[in-house]
Symmetry: C2
Subunit: 380 residues, 2 copies
Amino acid sequence: MPKIAASVLGMKGSVYSHLAKRLHEQGGPVYPLHIGDTWMEPAEGCRMQDLEVSDHPGMHRYAGVQGVPELIEAVGARVSARTGVATGFDDVLIAAGATGGLCGLVGAIVEPGDEVVILAPFWPLIAGMVRAFGGVAVPVPFIGVADSPETAVEVVRAALTDRTVALYWNTPNNPTGRRIPAPWLAALAELARERDLWVVSDEVYEEYVYAGEHVYSRAFAPERVVSCHSFSKSYGMAGNRAGYLVGPADILGHAKKITTHTFYSTPTASQLAALAALGPAGDAWVAQARAKYAELGRWAAERLGVEAPEGSTFLFLDVSDHLDETGLVGLLERAVERGLLVAPGDSFGPYPNHVRLCFTSAAPERVRAGVEVLASLLGR
Amino acid sequence: MPKIAASVLGMKGSVYSHLAKRLHEQGGPVYPLHIGDTWMEPAEGCRMQDLEVSDHPGMHRYAGVQGVPELIEAVGARVSARTGVATGFDDVLIAAGATGGLCGLVGAIVEPGDEVVILAPFWPLIAGMVRAFGGVAVPVPFIGVADSPETAVEVVRAALTDRTVALYWNTPNNPTGRRIPAPWLAALAELARERDLWVVSDEVYEEYVYAGEHVYSRAFAPERVVSCHSFSKSYGMAGNRAGYLVGPADILGHAKKITTHTFYSTPTASQLAALAALGPAGDAWVAQARAKYAELGRWAAERLGVEAPEGSTFLFLDVSDHLDETGLVGLLERAVERGLLVAPGDSFGPYPNHVRLCFTSAAPERVRAGVEVLASLLGR
């Protein structure tokens, strides 16, 4: 075979392929709690079947690369109202999911050798994106380490170098279910200002907060914070691939050049579905989903003997006490033999003895049964 | 503002934004013939409104990153039958359009400083993709220059260096409407084998050939050719963002790591629509579209005094004789004042005095009126 790029050789492929094969072989009921998704169908009126060509002629044609104008406007109005940061047309970039938007943003700010300090545990794909553009992902254990605005700044500052170009954080946090408190965000934004860094604030679980209210990072430094948001997570339409970035128009214009080259435009029908979801049907869907998620999350946490999630759809468990000489791989395999898939901790940073469980990726009764499998494996 | 990546600063943004503003201001009828798209709605049965949650439970959830298994299998079977190259499950990667697939492939083979020799004129985004990953795009005027298998090899060989990792070609060609003959493809594939290069063969207009039959490149060197294909172009669903790569499983596995980080998974509903289009409804749609496109292309070429297209949906015109001191920009502006948008030649390689026109991006009567505007500007 001809040459393969070293950067991609260094990237891990899926950790699930051999597990999925075993899962298939074991033949019993399956509990796929490894992926962040929802068991619920989107709201009525916001499904593909609701989008008729007669109402939306040309709806299978390309959309503009920034997005469908009506959706850009609706997002701008909503973000302005929710965050208090005036958000104009060009401060919004619609993308193929938050993933598509973040990749565009990383491509616009990272050159080979540049470092991005990533508050850990983190959403796994951010590290690979940085590497795909030749950058260096610098994970900094943060959640569970910092305990005040001062220590938050201290642990992050210790990781900064002359090559640092950005900070990444994610709140409500995937995988831990914790939130970063407002005073910490304010202090970290101030540090970013002092060192002239970009801030990439991943807020895709903004709608799924079970204790207190979501705090939007952008207000703390609107000139340098780019936040990413997801119709996938908010409205149960992950398969549609639609999300968005909000931030300074200039950097979003550069991010748009990358998104144009990575997926061209965001799926048109998915944008129309997202626009529908920004109305009352979507709000009602979120309200009932939030209540169900909160209840499931609380129950799962209690059953597994960990703290209830403050937000997101995940629990992150230290399983050190239950590993034998086969390590985490052995535990994952024992889980799979009983039908349960969970995500290994090292996908989220230096957490070789943790697993992540999504408590919304299957119907509640299946999640409960999967949690029982894990509880039994952990002797809880 | 904090630092922006030099690679993205060097990439051009849209060339249309200021023209679009003028177009809006002129107030008369509009002929948007600058983008490659179709005026037709997709086949009945292959539209979003035809995809019901009751038939496809979970259809708004993530698909696997390689694609929906049934679609992968249908593509593999079709490609095996059409190309004669046995194409197994892992020789197929479904992506967010051919764009998404090509970006994944480029990310898997290009390291900073690597060169990709691009047969020109070329599809514009390929050059930007190479640059986005730190590579060097090396355009080589080819269509209209080579006139035999020997000269084809000669012009390409002259552009190769020790840093060359791949050749890119696109046939039927966007923007010229020409096809690369089979003996030339065979000779170029042999050159790639001799120099151990990847071949990226962009065949998204495979269904739109008006003279002779499409020649699939992969059979000439299946161990190194990766071809890309598009449901967008074949079935009039560009807004759905679904296409695919076929090639050696190993390199597609690496490309999949990049696509996972750029858009995660291909839109699920778009994959279901593509699967429907691979049946009889799609075949019938292609047959009628091909007849209409052929007629429009022939008419437009004749009206503009150029050769009829052999394939694709474009004409590429040398307008040197009609440029004044304002150059091509002046001509584009004069066109826009009369409602016509066409694409500037330098998007496709070193063609500063050409324009590209898509003869399928608006309804036939509108295309004809737009062609009349261009003919009048060119005194034809």
